[in-house]
Symmetry: C2
Subunit: 102 residues, 2 copies
């Protein structure tokens, strides 16, 4: 599938969009973490699960969809997995879309 379409499908879900909005500004939306820096490493699945009020496997599945679209990257530290946005992918995506309005 085309990369823009993959991203659009990933974002075309209110729960995933919420998560993206949260993790692009993690300091504003999540508590400080003991392991894993909110900015440098990202936000752990547990915190996202608490905030979005879905079950953990459901969140894991949403995060995989965001990751497969390239919107986030993940890093494992101990037994946490931290997700953070890939701003480069995001800005290219928005750039690609913008021809529609010109």
């Amino acid at each position: 599938m085309e990369s823009t379409t993959l991203i659009l499908r990933a974002l075309a879900n209110e729960k995933r969009m919420k998560i993206m909005n949260w993790i692009v500004d993690p300091l504003a939306h999540f508590p400080k973490q003991i392991d894993g820096d909110l900015i440098d490493d990202g936000v752990c699945v547990g915190h996202i699960t608490d905030k979005i009020k879905l079950k953990q496997p459901t969140v894991t599945s949403h995060m995989k969809i965001l990751e497969e679209a390239g919107l986030v990257t993940s890093k494992k530290i101990k037994n946490w997995v931290f997700y953070k946005p890939d701003k480069k992918v995001l800005s290219k995506f928005i750039d690609d879309l913008s021809h529609l309005s010109q």
Copy 2:
């Protein structure tokens, strides 16, 4: 549903994205029409159907999804229906998205 999500869902389909890309630059993608100006009135369902190679009811359904998302407006002339993009909605949408990459 939130308006951004409605738009994302409408665009998260390769066929509809193709159609949008075509109708934002109709002169480049469609033949001149006898009734209905490509720019002022939009592109008729028949021309889109020919180009996308889907059946007419399928195209009508895709166009309704784009219209319900606010991405296009429609105008009936005789027994044609012409669709053209709503550039204002498109640019607001892109604007709303862009905070993700900042």
